[in-house]
């Protein structure tokens, strides 16, 4: 016997005048308005709720759909992008995939500079959407991809380099989209936690939420860089995203935590088993920090970002293999 937990008897399903409005006119119209789900089952403190915003529900599969659309449409408005334009962008995965999907629909050519040691699924996703992949040295991680993209962009001045790390349309997408959505769905929020990559999510959402309620705390979660920093020759090869410094990131943040690979993977597994959320591993790092935050504060409502689903990380074995072996492999493959 088949049972359904949720069904609509025929008598209750009637054609609605609203149908034309609920049918999106293209995949691009499905970007944003992601769901917020209560995952307090993971909270160690009964007086602290934890909510997760599921950005993996965006059509190209991650939070980066928002900034990719924002950057591309902004560049179309100001004339940098024209029919037939070629774009170049450094990305370890999600931004590249999001931009490739949008470029595919809009008819632009895109080249993604990507470290050689990302998971194979990310390369495959880029290929699905027709992007060209330019490999940067694996040992230099994302820093190496950023450097190489700058060099190639300088050599090809007719290519369009939207540069997610410094493009104001990146935090703007979160200031005008993600932030207001969180405030609309959960005005009780006391803490917002997100990962620190370009810093666009933290700056955009954090700035918006603090305008609405200055008491809301904004915590950054640093992805564990592991041995990926081996490629640095000296400290001045270090990198702080211009978005962070241009928007007074040091003043905006209330805390910043680093979470190690093992703990990130452990919490990613708990999210699947205890909350039914199949997330990527950087989202496990953010959730691990949220759990620590919940243990530390008296009471509150924490909102975290689930950046993407777990699909692109299945080949790492992160969800099922021996955790020590997976953690060891994280030193060589970019999981985050």
């Amino acid at each position: 016997m088949v049972t359904q937990s949720r069904s609509f008897p025929p008598s209750q399903v009637e054609p609605s005048d609203a149908s034309p409005e609920v049918i999106a006119s293209s995949a691009l119209d499905l970007i944003g308005n992601t769901p917020l789900v209560d995952v307090s089952v993971l909270s160690p403190n009964p007086r602290v709720r934890i909510l997760a915003k599921l950005e993996g529900n965006n059509p190209a599969g991650s939070v980066k759909d928002r900034i990719a659309l924002s950057m591309i449409e902004e560049a179309e408005k100001d004339g940098r992008l024209k029919p037939g334009s070629i774009l170049i962008e450094p990305s370890s995965g999600n931004t590249g995939i999001a931009m490739a999907m949008i470029c595919c629909l809009k008819g632009y050519t895109i080249k993604i500079v990507m470290p050689g040691n990302v998971t194979p699924e990310r390369r495959q996703m880029l290929e699905v959407f027709g992007a060209e992949i330019i490999e940067s040295p694996a040992s230099q991680g994302s820093n190496g991809a950023v450097k190489m993209a700058h060099k190639i962009a300088a050599e090809n001045p007719d290519w369009v380099f939207l540069y997610q790390y410094a493009n104001p349309a990146n935090p703007k997408a979160h200031m005008e989209g993600t932030g207001p959505e969180i405030w609309r769905d959960c005005p009780e929020i006391t803490h917002f936690l997100a990962g620190l990559g370009t810093s666009g999510t933290l700056i955009g959402v954090g700035t918006f939420l603090k305008q609405m309620n200055p008491n809301i705390q904004v915590w950054a979660v640093e992805p564990p860089s592991g041995e990926m920093v081996d490629g640095l020759r000296n400290l001045d090869d270090g990198y702080i995203p211009p978005i962070f410094t241009d928007n007074n990131g040091f003043d905006l943040l209330d805390r910043k935590k680093v979470i190690g690979p093992k703990e990130s993977i452990e919490v990613t597994r708990r999210m699947v088993r205890e909350a039914g959320i199949f997330a990527g591993i950087s989202s496990g790092a953010i959730m691990a920090a949220a759990i620590k935050c919940a243990a530390e504060i008296q009471e509150g409502v924490i909102v975290t970002i689930v950046c993407d689903g777990g699909w692109k990380y299945l080949s790492t074995g992160a969800y099922t293999d021996d955790i020590d072996e997976v953690t060891e492999r994280a030193k060589k493959v970019i999981y985050f």
């Binding site: 991650s62 980066k64 990305s91 370890s92 995965g93 999600n94 931004t95 991680g141 994302s142 820093n143 991809a145 950023v146 997610q164 790390y165 990962g195 620190l196 990559g197 370009t198 950054a220 640093e222 992805p223 860089s225 041995e227 990926m228 920093v229 081996d230 640095l232 020759r233 000296n234 400290l235 001045d236 090869d237 270090g238 990198y239 702080i240 995203p241 040091f250 943040l253 209330d254 805390r255 910043k256 935590k257 680093v258 979470i259 990527g280 950087s282 920090a289 620590k292 950046c307 993407d308 985050f336």
Partner: protein, 94 residues
């Protein structure tokens, strides 16, 4: 005085004889950094600038907290704490 472990990033290991973890003592994070410079003079100027500020491209973590947000060099220590020095890099699923 608290006894703490300090994790040294690859980039600074030439100055610590290749050691990835060293021991130190101090009341605050700043005390430990002063002690490190005494133990390993080669790292002078790499963590803290001559003006006494944390180097722009270095993040110092006390357990899992970036010290910039929990009292900077004045952040107090207790026995068994772990300090991690990490260079600032572009990371995340970007």
């Amino acid at each position: 005085m608290a006894a703490v472990d300090v994790r040294i990033p690859t980039i600074m290991r030439p100055h610590t004889g290749g050691q990835s973890k060293v021991s130190s003592t101090g009341e605050t994070v700043g005390d430990v950094i002063t002690d490190l410079v005494t133990q390993f003079p080669g790292i002078a100027g790499q963590i803290v600038t001559p003006e006494g500020e944390l180097h722009r491209f270095v993040n110092v973590y006390l357990n899992d907290d970036d010290v910039r947000y929990i009292g900077k060099l004045e952040a107090p220590l207790k026995d068994g704490d772990s300090i991690t020095i990490l260079p600032a890099v572009a990371g995340g699923a970007v």
